[in-house]
């Protein structure tokens, strides 16, 4: 159990920090409301009215999200390589460069064919 003490301690500290921040800002912070502040928060973008039933998203979101997932997940192959980096020597380096080049080929395709353009 004592093995997990640091984790528990970290959890307590994190919770404490979060509670402290919220409480302190509520207590100390100035309270001047305007229309923008009372709106629902949407990453800084002006919120758009939602139609009933959620409505439909532009397909652009899908493309961006999917491209992100594919390129993001490739990174996990870097972990085992990083762990055994010393023993794999030059061979590992060369193979990893080849791997990343292959990923870049896909990236080049996406870029050239307009997959990264929003409009």
């Amino acid at each position: 159990m004592e093995l997990y003490m640091p984790v528990v301690a970290l959890g307590i500290i994190a919770t404490g920090f979060a509670v402290f921040s919220i409480v302190m800002s509520a207590v100390v912070g100035p309270k001047r409301y305007n229309r923008a502040k009372l709106d629902s928060y949407e990453c800084g973008i002006e919120p758009t009215p939602q139609p009933v039933g959620g409505g439909r998203f532009p397909v652009k979101y899908y493309i961006t999200a999917m491209l992100f997932i594919v390129f993001d997940i490739e990174i996990i192959f870097l972990y085992p390589w990083a762990v055994a980096f010393d023993n794999m020597a030059v061979f590992g380096l060369v193979e990893m460069i080849l791997f990343i080049l292959t990923v870049f080929v896909a990236y080049a395709y996406v870029w050239r064919r307009g997959g990264l353009e929003w409009d």
Binding site: V83, A84, N87, M88, A89, V90, F91, G92, T102, V105, A106, A108, Y109, W111, R112, R113
Partner: protein, 537 residues
Amino acid sequence: MSSAAVLAAEFQAPSFEYSLLSPLLVIFGVAITGVLVEAFAPRGSRYLLQAVLAVLGVVGALVATVIVGLNLVSRGGGTAHGSIAAEGAIAVDGPSIFIWGTVLVLSLVSVLLFAERRLEGGVLSFAGQAAALPGTEAEREASTRGLEHTEVFPLMMFAVGGMMLFPASNDLLTMFVALEVLSLPLYLLCGLARRRRLLSQEAALKYFMLGAFSSGFFIYGIALVYGYAGSMNFAAISAAVSGRAGGEGLLLGGIALLAVGMMFKVGAAPFHAWTPDVYQGAPTAVTAFMAACTKVAAFGALLRLFYVAFGGARWDWTPMVWVIAILTMVVGSVLALSQTDVKRMLAYSSIAHAGFLLTGFVGAQQVADVGIGEITSLQAVLFYLVTYGFTTVAAFAVVTVVRDAGGEATHLSRWSGLGKESPVVAGVFAVLLLGMAGIPLTSGFTGKWAVFTTALAGGAWPLVVTAVLFSVVAAFFYVRVIVLMYFSDPVGEGPTVATPSILTTIVIAVGFAATLALGVVPGPVLDLAAAAGEFIR
């Protein structure tokens, strides 16, 4: 230091036999180059670049395969020869080389079918712009601007790469990755038809859903077998199976789940449900490629997995395969009788063929049992795959040229009277159908003969009797189409036979020639299959 760190410290830089794996590297290299071409070449020049690149790539890989094949070293004293490459992940042995050669030749033929542009009036038979919705302004615009997806060539090359890796994998993980590499491009290709796009998209959805489902079974099977044997490597699994170190449930469950995944890919009943829908909905060029090459690759992998890794548990999986084989033959032959669409009928015929192939597979006549001049079941199945592949590609190629105003006229009623309209096409199709039925002097007969005799020698006589019986049933529906083509009057305007470019003509000619040649002089290819020897362990 944790146990993982200790294990990591033991890692050595692996050795990688580049020359042995050159066929695979060429194909994957061509596929990646294809993606770059797609990214940087101007639109107008892409078609020619991609088609030439694909053809050169496949030919290059074929040459590399022959060179590798000629330099295989004998291993273990028996007929097995070859070496294990890439730290035990890939087995480059006789059967691998034979399957690589078969897949590559069939892919070469299929590339030509993919590249056919004349039948659609100067564009590929794939969707001009897959993202444009069917029946919208965007689609019409894509069509008038003559857009085409030349991505089909790199996609196909990736699939070919997967098909080569699949039967050559020597551990479960490589096999799983290869399975996905071959499947994912095929899911996409299925949805890219230019005509009848709703059908095509539906085919892609069904193929994808069921394919993903079956790969879920496959990977859970891998997990269980790994849990049993403690290794993914076939040799280690084989040793564990022979030793029977306990944990019987894990092993049997794993074998069953892996079999589900495999049987799905080969299209065996009761996992065949996707086959007719996908074969019908997919663009016919893709169907031809998929029907021929996937089956070759999947049977190669099935044989390696069950003979090499689970050879010691043969008595556990044999009854299961018996049931599947009989069911597959029954379903394939009987349901084909009631089909009204020629692509669907050929799909059921391919299911029936999977059943015949399973008969050979389960007969399991091993090296130790064969006399002089006899072949093992592995070699018989390999030979059958060659005969089946050529006939199938050519049959689907014929389907692409029989057309009406709406594209391919796949409904069987449209085929009546084809013999009067175009004696050549009808004649060729008739021979191909007879080949599938297994009439003597065609490749279907020699293939069935090889498979059934080995199964008989392996003691599976009830299975062989069933197989022969259902060959007769199957022959009925092949002959029905021939009767329809020659002895029925055309309905309405009747079918028209479009004149294809030289590409499709080559495909049909090659398939037709192979069907006859392998039926009359099967010797050379049979010798080649026999020379493939056995799997290395």
